[in-house]
Symmetry: C3
Subunit: 274 residues, 3 copies
Amino acid sequence: MFRDCLENVRQKTPLIHNITNYVTVNDCANVLLACGGSPIMADDEAEVEAITSICGGLNLNIGTLNTRTIEAMFLAGHKANALDHPIILDPVGAGASSLRTETAKRLVKDLNLTVIRGNISEIKTLATGSGTTKGVDADLADQVTEENLDQMIAFAKAYAKETGAIIAITGAIDLIADAKHAYVIRNGVAMLSKITGSGCMLSAMTAAYITANQENPLEAVATSVCAMGLCGEQAFAKMQQNQVGSGSFRTYLIDAIDLLDGETLEAGKRYEMR
Amino acid sequence: MFRDCLENVRQKTPLIHNITNYVTVNDCANVLLACGGSPIMADDEAEVEAITSICGGLNLNIGTLNTRTIEAMFLAGHKANALDHPIILDPVGAGASSLRTETAKRLVKDLNLTVIRGNISEIKTLATGSGTTKGVDADLADQVTEENLDQMIAFAKAYAKETGAIIAITGAIDLIADAKHAYVIRNGVAMLSKITGSGCMLSAMTAAYITANQENPLEAVATSVCAMGLCGEQAFAKMQQNQVGSGSFRTYLIDAIDLLDGETLEAGKRYEMR
Amino acid sequence: MFRDCLENVRQKTPLIHNITNYVTVNDCANVLLACGGSPIMADDEAEVEAITSICGGLNLNIGTLNTRTIEAMFLAGHKANALDHPIILDPVGAGASSLRTETAKRLVKDLNLTVIRGNISEIKTLATGSGTTKGVDADLADQVTEENLDQMIAFAKAYAKETGAIIAITGAIDLIADAKHAYVIRNGVAMLSKITGSGCMLSAMTAAYITANQENPLEAVATSVCAMGLCGEQAFAKMQQNQVGSGSFRTYLIDAIDLLDGETLEAGKRYEMR
């Protein structure tokens, strides 16, 4: 039950170590608190192993990566693997530079990742080298649509099988897949792409969900993705009602994450299993 | 027409590479999205040339500069020049330390900049070495006033001629000048200086405007400055009406940028040509 | 009078140099502006001494510290001491890694600090090595309660005597102590710990208070702590009234800091001297 996944986060208050970009880091911290987790950010090589050790899960995000923080990601990742902590990778902008593409590929290869979450262009870049990119946003040419859905589900399952990680491809339609099962999620609104960091926030929140629900990681990821989509819908409705814009939408989104309960999530989730 | 400049941003969705400070970077990203552009932040020497290559314009902001990011600014700047991408420089805090002053001067000297946007103390520091500074804010002694307006316009035009860049001096009165023409803009409210980053946000937005309006850069800068001032006026009116403070003002400002249309801008712009 | 401390900040507009983490830096800058101060952030070794020299006070915060910024903290700190500028240290996450613990201890030992402000786990880690830690939050086992209040006051005074700094331990009950006197403050709400950075914001604001009230540092710290607590109460009341969440709470908190006046503070402060 999605409700159980959500309530586990609120009851266990998972402590999440984040090595993430400086653009959206504040939103990630606030979303972790709002969903019921607890954030700590640390990216120096001299302390990332210690910080990972006191946490329950690790969130690696390569936006604004640099030589120093890349090394820290590997140190923290290996420590998290040694401790059996779940790790999520957000390959922000993979495809936009070879530094990002190669770093993300190395993280996928060297670490035992629980989840890889990105837009379709980022995931295609990692899986096949063929994704196009428009900076940190997905290219329209790559998009998951009703027409290519079967093919994209097969792609996600195949990449999950190859990597051993749950693959979360988010966009207008979200696909969450392991090697055998896929959730096709239709929560969410286009407005989420009009603020920076909605993907980063989702990855941070998903880190809390997989850490608090380790016996059930696929459902935990699906719950987190549904929850973010549903909160986006609520924030958008309020934005339109109040005739305001993207600044208020961002505030309403975090409000919605803070206020979301299991009952509302169960009533609002929109997905099918494939 | 200012309306055309604004609509070009919304239609072309210019992708802007930002090397900027970590204080206001999130606001810069959200303002770029709100005005119709698309942001990417990247500051590692190993990827800035690649990132600039996939973008349309470059925003260089020296707040919280450091040895690593200074080098990245030059690499990205030379690449942008080679590709004929417009560049805007925001010399945050020039005059506050010799590192900032010297870095900004070197950027002006080595790169072919499209726009230099700062407060009067920062611009005077670069042009004449005589600006005083109060941290990242302009010193009252330097201020553009109705009394010294003729002299300041001549100063801006002369510095534009010297550098080949459009000079944008923003404050209570804004001056936007190339060697021959100047816009004197009277939009805006003092409240904009009660939140951090209103200058940084303006520079980021201006990067989108000059990228989407390359045949018409002077008007593009003037449009961006009027737009930010007008949105500040709208946000301030709403703040007073709701009897709230600077936290809400910041949200309302981004809302206003998101909602601004060409018609409202044409009706609200307040400037004269000199 | 607390009123005088508050009004001194608004009248003197103290310029504060911040070397702080990238998670909450934007909130710190906005809170400094809202309370009447003026922020500048700079962390490069090549400029921190120059920046400190033009400022009135220094705020050192070790969240997301790294090798480069640690060195900058010592350079800025020694310069601030040479100039007799007040310094506040926020030992974010001391206890969570030896890098943080050792860096904080060295800062306490090498610098002449005016204030050390942290949660009880952080302060116990520094004073006795015995604090437990839950990342950047205090551990329940360490908490200041009505039952251990006498003992904790004695602890705070003893550590103040040892370090020569005012010790500010904030949590459900706040203790502000020098060697002889302690304020026990009961303003505040638990909601403040549901957003990231309320501690960082308090340290930044306190930097402004001690800089504008150098003849009266203990009362200045107490005023800042009461002010933040009272603003939290106002923000929480508004959040509940509007049935919104933590995103709005953060905005309301900054609004409240911006709007706070001496009369409201005097009416709302809740403390006793011990």
